[in-house]
Amino acid sequence: MALENLHDFLTDYFTANQCDIIENYNGKLSIQLTDKMDELLMNRPFYWQYVKTLGYPGEPMKVSFITNPNRRDEEGEWVHFGSPRLHQIFNTLISQGKFTKIFERVTTELRTPLVPWLVLNIRISYTGKHKKDEIKSMGLQLINGAMITQIMDELEVLSLQSSIPDFCYTITPLIRLKSGYQRIIQYIENYLQDIDHTWAQESWHHLEEEQKLLEHFYENVNDDHPDLISRKDQELIDLKNRFKPQINIEVVNGGIFYLSHASSIRIINEHLQ
């Protein structure tokens, strides 16, 4: 699971959103929210509307979160993996962290080129009788077309920043973004061709079985009962909605990453091994 440490995750989240940490000790985190984060999280639109209308400075709240279950009775909001607060934060991240443009931090006094990568984190959902998801973290080098999976793991170890480092310049991609995107999707589709789809087979099979039962149920119903016929049609649609196997490909987030030659080559080589 990506959140081994919920406490650090929260700390990072508020730090990344420019909130001051007041207290951070033994599973308790107290934060001074900024105006923006108060509006985003505290669910008091009328207050902010009021403040803005009158032109007053708002007073964003201080909040305490408790992640140590042993301290959950103390003052503050207990946050755990299922708590609405955490999922509210996840939801803000869906839009907050969707598009990015990032540069590797390079300390140099020589003119240094940075190589463009298209990174797409993709959620593949398999839905039939049951449902599961899979996340693929795809990277495509936009000059030579090298493609690697699990690129997020590689990026984790680099120093990254939002602005281009001094003395660096970016190489213009040879592969346009849209065709890069197509290549990645094509790769995913090829992957989907190769894997086992017993689940879909079972879902089709089940759908057919239940359709047969339904047909049989209405066998003796004739055109004199339009209401029953239309109910049957609806029930057929319900069945399809419930069982028809489908795969959704959805981009969780993505961006363009400009990496040093060294990093680019290392990532590709490691992937080849």
Partner: protein, 549 residues
């Protein structure tokens, strides 16, 4: 790749491309990385297994509840009858299933139909136990949005709601107290059947109440054709309810769409249930009036004469009002004069012997009590009478509006000592913070008694439960108590399989059965013999079933 519909994401790259071209804003590496991590964290990488319990660390689920949820999701593909015995947590099981589907992104829009009195309770449980932000439907309609709505079937099927609701495509529909849907000719049944829905849960503690065709109708909501079509079903299994239990094939089919846990299967250490029969003697005056009423009723029995006698065993007021209503009718009534005299006699009666007994039982304790009576007049009388003795109480009945019910329950929990409920108030409400119950009048249907007891003797009850059953000597109550309840050992055991036994014996409605016995017997002796026969049959079936098990 085999025939699988593939949906691609077209929006992302368009938006990204335009941001790049127009120098739009971009997120920092930290937020990007966290966004990815939260996506990984909320991903469910396996088809099977439950993920919901991990997200609900503040709730301790029982093994049978987890197994039920898993079975419904994995094997029944989200359509099933949850038929646990009262008090085992059908709501919890349903909540788990709904939560699981929501986590997996399979349910966004749900309709939860429950008795009006339980709407708030459902909303609270869903939000507190499951973090499911459910809305109760009030004045402002929210039908057409993506959300989880709890409402009553009576509201939902009324215009203008009905048409709007029938247009919606629900991912999930739940019907609580679904046994009320068993008749396929009713509007409720037709309504539920017409809802556009993917997943569907029917909750009932008594799935096999009356006729064999009932179960056919319930199953047909979930899986039309699973039990064949109507003609085949009646042809193959007949109308004999016995077949539900005798016919191995039918039993097996039902198990594919129904989960039913019994108390004894759950392996939980339930608190004890102490049951005491409290015998009460009428005063001479009361007894005399009772005899007189019995005489009048026997001489010229009418539709309600049995009821009057039962009512007299409950309170003067209940009986008086009913007879008054009878006499107010503008038609010829045999024994009108007798009844009129009887009313005068009733007016002279002292406080009811049972009411005196209640005071005796609770005046010296601070413990909370629930009193169940069959009659509203008795309820009012008791409330007044308790007040005269400085005992605080609140009434509770089916007709109360939601808010009032919640309020009464809260008052009972926080402030007052006694809750006086009539039958319809017994459904669904949880009162496990109280562990004393007085059955002021016994229902003639043992299943209803179990429903009552289930209000307090349920999971979450920390203390042994005390049940006091009032019965007046030398009246019909004595017969019912001795010959029915004692004999079938109803109180000693948790009822459990009684409903199955009654079905097996084709006793659909015990209450009617007993009523008929009283009505159609000319002597007390005859009543006794018939009641004895009835209970012998039941206890014989019980023994047989115990042996088989």
């Amino acid at each position: 790749m085999m025939n699988i519909q593939l949906n691609r994401d077209q929006e992302f790259i368009e938006e990204f491309n335009s941001r790049i071209e127009n120098e739009g804003s971009f997120s920092s590496w930290q937020l990007f990385r966290m966004s990815y991590r939260s996506a990984v964290a909320t991903t469910t990488p396996e088809f099977k297994g439950l993920t919901a319990p991990k997200r609900l660390p503040h709730v301790t689920f029982l093994q049978h509840q987890l197994e039920c949820a898993q079975q419904v999701v994995e094997e029944m593909n989200g359509r099933g009858i949850l038929a646990d015995e009262v008090g085992l947590g059908k709501t919890i099981e349903a909540g788990l299933i709904l939560k699981e589907y929501m986590i997996r992104g399979l349910v966004k829009k749900a309709l939860i139909l429950v008795p009006a009195s339980l709407v708030n309770q459902w909303v609270n449980e869903l939000s507190q136990k499951f973090y499911i932000p459910a809305l109760s439907q009030r004045r402002r309609p929210v039908w057409d949005q993506q959300n989880i709505v709890v409402t009553s079937i009576d509201t939902a099927k009324r215009p203008p709601h009905r048409d709007i609701i029938l247009e919606q495509e629900y991912d999930f529909v739940l019907i609580d107290e679904a046994h009320k849907l068993k008749n396929h000719k009713t509007k409720n049944y037709e309504f539920v059947r017409s809802l556009k829905k993917k997943y569907c849960l029917l909750l009932t503690a008594t799935p096999v109440q009356n006729k064999l065709i009932d179960i056919f109708n319930l199953v047909s909501i979930l899986k039309p054709g699973h039990l064949g079509n109507y003609e085949e079903f009646t042809k193959q299994f007949g109308k004999d309810r016995n077949n539900l239990f005798n016919d191995a094939h039918l039993k097996q089919l039902i198990q594919k769409v129904m989960v039913r846990n019994r108390r004894e299967d759950t392996g939980i250490d339930w608190t004890k249930r102490n049951v005491e029969t409290v015998w009460i003697d009428f005063t001479d005056d009361e007894q005399q009036t009772y005899e007189e009423l019995t005489r009048i009723s026997t001489e010229s029995p009418n539709f309600s004469s049995i009821t009057y006698t039962r009512e007299l065993c409950s309170s003067r007021e209940a009986c008086y009002l009913s007879i008054k209503k009878l006499l107010n009718q503008d038609r010829e009534i045999a024994n009108r004069l007798d009844y009129e005299n009887l009313m005068k006699q009733i007016e002279q009666l002292p406080h009811h012997a049972k009411a005196l007994k209640i005071i005796e039982l609770i005046k010296d304790t601070d413990e909370k009590f629930i009193i169940f009576t069959e009659y509203r007049a008795t309820q009012l009388y008791l409330q007044w009478y308790l007040q005269q003795h400085g005992i605080s109480s609140v009434p509770f009945r089916g007709g109360f509006k939601r808010g009032k019910k919640d309020w009464m329950r809260q008052l009972f929990q926080d402030k007052v000592q006694v809750l006086i409920a009539t039958e319809a108030g017994g459904e669904g409400i949880n009162l496990q913070f109280c562990n004393n119950m007085i059955n002021y009048d016994l229902p003639w249907n043992p299943m209803r008694l179990e429903q009552r007891i289930g209000r307090i003797h349920r999971y979450g009850q920390e203390y042994d439960v005390n049940i006091y059953n009032f019965a007046i000597k030398n009246t019909m109550e004595e017969h019912v108590m001795n010959l029915l309840y004692e004999k079938i050992k109803l109180f000693e055991r948790v009822v459990g399989n009684l409903d199955a036994i009654l079905s097996e014996l084709e006793i659909g409605d015990v209450e009617k059965e007993i009523e008929t016995i009283f009505k159609e017997s000319s002597t007390d002796g005859e009543v006794k013999i018939k009641l004895e026969n009835l209970s012998s049959v039941i206890s014989y079936a019980q023994e047989q079933q115990a042996e088989e098990a």
